[in-house]
């Protein structure tokens, strides 16, 4: 009897594959189980590595133009063709990834830098402080993001830093909302009251007890916003409000390639694809994180 059960339970072939995984316990294991998010993370890592090792990987000098090879279709020499000044599109994409990614991080840092403290204060203190901050927040959020960014860049003058500052400002309210909401619920937790009973000051409670417990939703929101920021940067640069020549980003490349769409579609398509893929990666990773964090919440009593 027990032998029969043992036989039935024994993995038939290829033991390593057949053995069921132990129940997922950690956050990382839950995340790794999410294949889509995992693949997105790998793709994103590849893009980041490409950006870091751009000088090694790029087949050509991204700034060197060759007037004899203008708007060439893909070939062995130019894998993704050449642009209107005869520069290698692939090399330019590889180098442009640096600015695009750094710009998104810039915007995110500004958004979190403004949104996190204000959200914490708003949620923790409450009362009229909360009301004032949140009404201001609502006002900012009622503008379409890109339009507001265009206005800010219009005031500050076109440059990548200004564009990313604008995008950071525009996205700060979204971070603030998430942080405030999470803070509101964490503030009511018994362990916050218990911390107060052990003599923690408000500042300490916010830093030590509230902040670590809202990182989950914050990271999710930040990841998704990374994607948005990248897209917004592309949009502003496409319109000529972001990065200025000779430097380039994916959005700027899309902008310069677009008028020649009929003669040579590859640069436009290539830039569009890499923007879409990267934004998609950020969003899918964000979804994966949200699911993993969410389950951690539910598992914790």
């Amino acid at each position: 009897m027990s032998n029969a059960i043992a036989a039935a339970l024994a993995p038939p072939t290829n033991p390593p594959e057949a053995v069921t995984l132990p129940p997922p316990s950690g956050f990382f294991r839950r995340f790794a189980r999410n294949r889509v998010a995992l693949v997105s993370l790998i793709v994103l890592l590849l893009i980041v590595l490409t950006a870091i090792f751009a000088p090694v990987l790029a087949p050509h000098d991204p700034a060197k133009s060759s007037l004899r090879n203008i708007l060439k279709p893909p070939s062995a020499m130019y894998l993704l063709g050449s642009d209107d000044l005869g520069r290698d599109v692939l090399s330019r994409l590889i180098f442009a990834s640096r600015l695009s990614l750094v710009a998104s991080v810039q915007a995110l840092v500004i958004a979190v830098g403004i949104g996190l403290p204000l959200g914490l204060i708003s949620g923790y203190i409450g009362g009229w402080v909360d009301t004032v901050i949140m009404r201001f927040n609502d006002a900012l959020m009622s503008f379409p993001a890109l339009i507001l960014a265009v206005v800010i860049v219009g005031l500050l003058g076109p440059s990548l830093t200004n564009a990313m500052t604008a995008i950071g400002l525009v996205y700060a309210p979204r971070i603030m909302r998430v942080v405030r909401g999470s803070t509101l619920s964490v503030r009511e937790e018994v362990y916050v009251q218990a911390a107060r009973a052990t003599g923690c000051s408000d500042a300490r409670i916010i830093a030590r007890h509230v902040l670590p417990n809202i990182t989950g939703p914050l990271v999710v929101q930040a990841t998704v916003l990374m994607g948005h920021a990248l897209l917004a940067e592309a949009g502003l640069s496409f319109l000529g409000l972001g990065v200025q020549p000779p430097e380039t980003s994916w959005g700027a490349m899309l902008g310069t390639a677009f008028p020649y769409l009929a003669q040579s579609p590859t640069p436009t398509i290539a830039a569009g694809c890499i923007i879409s893929v990267t934004v998609l990666c950020f969003n899918l990773i964000g979804d994966g994180l949200r699911d993993s964090v969410g389950r951690a919440r539910r598992a914790g009593d």
Partner: protein
């Protein structure tokens, strides 16, 4: 040095509400002597938790305020102290344990870190010393292999174990007073008995006083030196524990006793529930707040003027008819034995 570690006098705590300011603690006075365990008993909404939280300035964070009264701790007045000053006392000289062990620990830190944090902050101990203290405390509260358990997170502990950890946090700085707000309510009975055992042992060893809030008279019989019974935001009876169980002087106290299964068993009768429910705190009945539920109510005497808390033998009682009523109340000395104590 005064005789009592804690003296609460005429404490009034109010909360804003749609019905105006609600008085959730109404002129409550109580003393806790040195090395004494005082239990505060009462049903939900009687103001027992609020009294304790107000004593250490925790109601302000919830929107409440101490309207009047005084709280003297170890000779110092606590009412009116700044949060900064209170923070030096809370967790250091006064330990606090909450009802929900499952929710009282921060899920983001190991239990060792949470104990060590308190020691570092109040005692200025180094990380290493504080960690050593944390392990010692875990050992003191009876957690096996404390050195490795200190590195575990709260979700890796059971309810009873978490309450022990809470106790370790509360006692880490050798407080003079431990305020325990229904620490055993959420635990099952066997764990509860062990916790009470542990609490008594630590109280003896660490020379501290304990103010213990509960609604369970069985727990009171187990650990208390003195008992304060609260009803409707007021103290209605205060007496040494043996006195309270032997000769309750307030009909409410007697009602609580008659509702205890142990008492009912000893008497060979089914437990008797107190009829009715506690009134809303914005609509207390006139006169004695217990009068609609009391079997001894006399219109006029009990239903017009507020009743004073007066001394009556070794006890303090808030009952206009206690002389007349008391002989008719449950007398456990007349029964075969006191409740399981």
């Amino acid at each position: 040095m005064s005789e009592n570690i804690l003296e609460i006098r005429d404490l009034v705590v109010q909360f804003p509400s749609p019905h105006g300011h609600l008085t959730v603690v109404d002129h409550v006075s109580l003393d806790v002597g040195r090395n004494e365990i005082v239990c505060v008993v009462g049903e939900s909404g009687s103001g027992k938790s609020m009294t304790m939280q107000a004593a250490v300035g925790l109601v302000q964070a919830k929107g409440g305020r101490v309207r009047s009264g005084s709280v003297r701790f170890d000779g110092r007045e606590l009412v009116g102290l700044s949060t900064r000053q209170l923070n030096r006392i809370r967790g250091n000289e006064i330990g606090f344990i909450f009802q929900e062990p499952m929710a009282s620990l921060n899920p983001a830190y190991t239990v060792g870190e949470q104990i060590a944090e308190v020691v570092r902050r109040h005692r200025g101990a180094s990380h290493k010393e504080a960690w050593r203290r944390a392990v010692t405390m875990l050992d003191r509260v009876g957690i096996a292999s404390p050195a490795s358990r200190a590195e575990d997170y709260p979700h890796q502990f059971s309810g009873g174990m978490r309450q022990r950890v809470m106790m370790a946090i509360a006692l880490a700085c050798n407080p003079k007073l431990l305020i325990a707000d229904e620490p055993t309510t959420a635990l099952d009975v066997t764990i509860q008995a062990r916790m009470l055992e542990l609490l008594k042992e630590l109280q003896r060893d660490m020379n501290m006083s304990v103010l213990f809030i509960t609604h369970d008279l069985g727990v009171v019989a187990e650990i208390a030196d003195r008992v304060v019974v609260m009803y409707g935001a007021q103290a209605v009876e205060a007496a040494p524990v043996a006195e309270l169980f032997r000769t309750p002087r307030h009909p409410y106290t007697s009602g609580l006793l008659e509702a205890m299964p142990q008492v009912a068993l000893a008497r060979g009768q089914p437990p008797v529930a107190i009829p009715g429910a506690v009134a809303q705190s914005y609509a207390w009945p006139k006169g004695c707040r217990f009068n609609p539920r009391c079997g001894f109510t006399v219109p006029g005497t009990c239903t017009t003027e507020p009743i004073e808390l007066l001394s009556h033998g070794p006890a303090l009682v808030r009952c206009a008819r206690t002389e007349a009523v008391q002989p008719a109340l449950l007398h456990l000395s007349a029964e075969r034995k006191a409740p399981a104590a």
